[in-house]
């Protein structure tokens, strides 16, 4: 039974408000970012001074900084992009991508984002054949404003043959009491395009979080998704929907959760394999301590001919009062599909601990070695620079969160 007080319907969006947007600042360059914000960004792996293809920063509901350094890769606030890409003179019509990967009436959170006209987000656009050499960075920050509602809408389009590597960090100021983050992200990877997306969340024990992500993959498009949350949160619920509509499209998603305190997470991913030969792999690793409760879902629907899908959910419980529900689902709607899943939930086995102790490790050292191995994610689907960055972030975050 899922605890009622932790579940979804207790959120009343009228309890939250948007800050006065007239007072918000816009920085012209990375150098102008104040130290406090800089330090918060570091916690989610965003280092503003490092060599990157571009950076987008938004505190609350207005962009603070947007710098694009690479030709052929556009990065700008979504509101600005809407004015430019109106379909005139043969340009892209951004309206064609609005609420196509995520439906606006999916739930009250998407509805809120859809009717809201004043908040912003980012637009990333890789032109045909263009590639990012260094990852693009974006950071969404909840300032110390009690009861803040951060509503973000992002659209990411990778044109045919392009490649986008993105690191995004979402974080809240420790003084941001009882805030809510609503983040809509719509991804479109066209023929032969490749998107690698690493997202790190760092919240506080009072933050509620509702990311709403939709991904549409055309022929031969590839998407690698890494999602890492190792901080406390009040209540986080997300379930990206991935539609693999093109032939041989592929999706690889890996989620890493370190749940502690009273945190409640309901995380998952739903992949719909439509294009012939498309494939999806959904992996989650959950480490639950204290009184945390995690629901780890994964769902793959096989429709197209010769599609393959695999779900792997494993969880380790390191406290007698933590709880993990692992819910993998595979649905075959065509006899020519191959769908598999594996799930395991439990404590660390005594056999494993004793084996390592027979090599001289103490019990605590043995547990630490097993836990760090459990969290050692496979970054091989990522391009090298992003893989390195992702490993580094997980390392930094796990060290600071786990001691």
């Amino acid at each position: 039974m899922i605890d009622k007080d932790k579940a979804d319907d207790d959120i009343d969006l009228n309890d939250y408000k948007i800050e006065d947007l007239k007072t918000s600042k816009f920085y012209k360059s990375e150098q102008e970012i104040p130290d406090e914000l800089r330090n918060s960004m570091k916690k989610v792996g965003i280092e503003v001074d490092s060599d990157k293809s571009g950076i987008f920063l938004q505190s609350g509901n207005k962009p603070d900084l947007c710098v694009s350094k690479v030709q052929g890769i556009e990065l700008m606030p979504l509101k600005e992009a809407l004015k430019i890409y109106d379909g005139s003179d043969g340009k892209l019509n951004l309206q064609d991508y609005f609420w196509k990967a995520v439906s606006s009436d999916k739930d009250k959170f998407t509805t809120e984002a859809a009717i809201n006209e004043i908040t912003d987000g980012y637009f990333i656009h890789a032109l045909a054949g263009q590639k990012t050499i260094f990852p693009l960075q974006s950071c969404l920050f909840i300032p110390p404003f009690p009861g803040l509602k951060q509503v973000v809408h992002n659209i990411i389009i990778a044109e045919p043959g392009s490649q986008l590597d993105i690191i995004t960090g979402c974080t809240a100021h420790t003084g941001a009491k009882s805030a809510i983050h609503l983040g809509v992200s719509e991804f479109y990877a066209k023929k032969d395009a490749k998107i690698s997306f690493t997202m790190v969340h760092n919240w506080t024990e009072t933050t509620k979080v509702r990311p709403r992500t939709g991904i549409i993959l055309e022929e031969n498009a590839k998407f690698s998704n890494f999602y890492v949350v190792m901080s406390e949160v009040k209540n986080l619920q997300t379930n990206p929907s991935i539609k693999l509509i093109g032939k041989n499209a592929s999706y690889f998603g890996q989620t890493l959760i370190y749940a502690k305190g009273e945190s409640y997470y309901d995380i998952g991913a739903t992949a719909h394999l439509i294009g012939e030969g498309s494939k999806a792999e959904i992996i989650s690793r959950v480490l639950a301590v204290d009184n945390s409760h995690v629901i780890a879902r994964g769902k793959i629907i096989g429709d197209g001919k010769d599609v393959t899908g695999h779900i792997d959910c494993s969880a380790l419980l390191l406290s007698p009062t933590a709880r993990v529900d692992s819910i993998p689902a595979i649905v075959a709607q065509n006899p020519e599909v191959t769908l598999t899943h594996e799930a395991s939930v439990g404590k660390i086995s005594d056999d494993h601990i004793e084996y390592l102790m027979s090599r001289g490790l103490t019990e605590d050292e043995a547990i630490n070695l097993i836990v760090s191995g459990f969290l050692d994610v496979d970054t091989s689907p990522l391009p090298p620079s992003l893989a390195e960055e992702t490993k580094k972030i997980i390392d930094i975050v796990s060290k600071s969160e786990m001691g």
Binding site: H352, E354, Y355, M357, S358, R359, G360, L361, E363, G373
Partner: protein, 278 residues
């Protein structure tokens, strides 16, 4: 003689079944003993009791290592005193790479032994692995796999051997070192065991000691001098003596005959090598 392991009247229970009953064993420094017995005789229980595994509850009796009572010490404390083990069925540990575990073993050995000059890999772990890769016939990417995960019987033995080669314990427990290993690999494993146990040194230089468990000792042919052999059945040692005589007796009559002891060992033969007292 310098005593390394002494087990006195050890009675061990596993899940409410008494497996070892008043078990006695004495191994001196430089000695290698072999324990033979049918499946279920209590051989693996003995190894896990010596190490102090939780499930193996000592009801009575004592285990001494180098004269010190270790009966109530934790596994890691026992290991830190110089005990090493090669398991028959080590668990798969997902996410922990063998290279990482070997690095940890190396750190532990450095911590446990003050005099590093005596040890085989005081130079550089990487170089040491390169040399072992040739001897043990494995490629270096094998080290980047998860410990014991999805590998063959021979590869599991290699993994166990590598860990012990790095740790270089004074006293080694081997649980069925030749089980699941094909014939050509038995000799490779035996040569490493000889090295781990100082068997290629002259007797006066043999510092290492060991206890080898096997249910039929094919590998013993390749191990050089073994000090004593014991037959264990129903949780007790039924017979001890010269390894050749004991093994020949078992080969000829089988373990079942030991229960009624048909005195198959010719006590006049090479009597000077055989010491029937424990």
């Amino acid at each position: 003689m310098n005593n390394i392991l002494r087990i006195e009247n050890l009675t061990v229970r596993v899940d409410n079944h008494q497996i070892l009953k008043d078990f006695d064993l004495n191994i001196n420094k430089g000695e290698v003993h072999v324990l033979l017995g049918p499946n279920g005789a209590g051989k693996t229980t003995l190894i896990k009791s010596i190490l102090g595994f939780k499930k193996y509850v000592v009801e009575s009796g004592k285990i001494y290592f180098k004269g010190e009572d270790i009966t109530n010490l934790s596994i890691s404390e026992r290991v830190s005193k110089g005990i090493g083990v090669l398991f028959q069925h080590p668990p798969e540990i997902n996410g922990v790479k063998l290279s990482k575990l070997l690095t940890v073993c190396d750190q532990k050995r450095n911590m446990f032994t003050k005099e590093t000059t005596e040890n085989a890999c005081d130079s550089d772990l990487d170089e040491y692995m390169d040399s072992l890769a040739q001897r043990l016939k494995f490629s270096k990417d094998y080290l980047e796999r998860d410990v014991n995960t999805g590998i063959s019987g021979g590869e599991i033995k290699r993994s166990e051997i590598l860990q012990m080669m790095v740790m270089q314990p004074e006293f080694l427990l081997f649980d069925e070192p030749d089980s699941g290993v094909d014939v050509e690999n038995v000799e490779i494993i035996a040569s490493i065991m000889r090295e781990l146990l100082d068997r290629d040194k002259v007797p006066s230089k043999q510092e290492k000691s060991g206890l080898i468990i096997t249910h039929l000792g094919y590998i013993l042919k390749f191990l050089g001098h073994i000090t004593r052999a014991h037959i264990v059945m129903d949780g007790k040692i039924l017979c001890s003596g010269n390894p050749k005589q004991i093994i020949n007796g078992v080969m000829k009559n089988g373990f079942e005959k030991c229960r009624e002891c048909i005195s198959c060992i010719d006590s006049t033969e090479k009597l000077e090598e055989v010491d029937f007292t424990l």
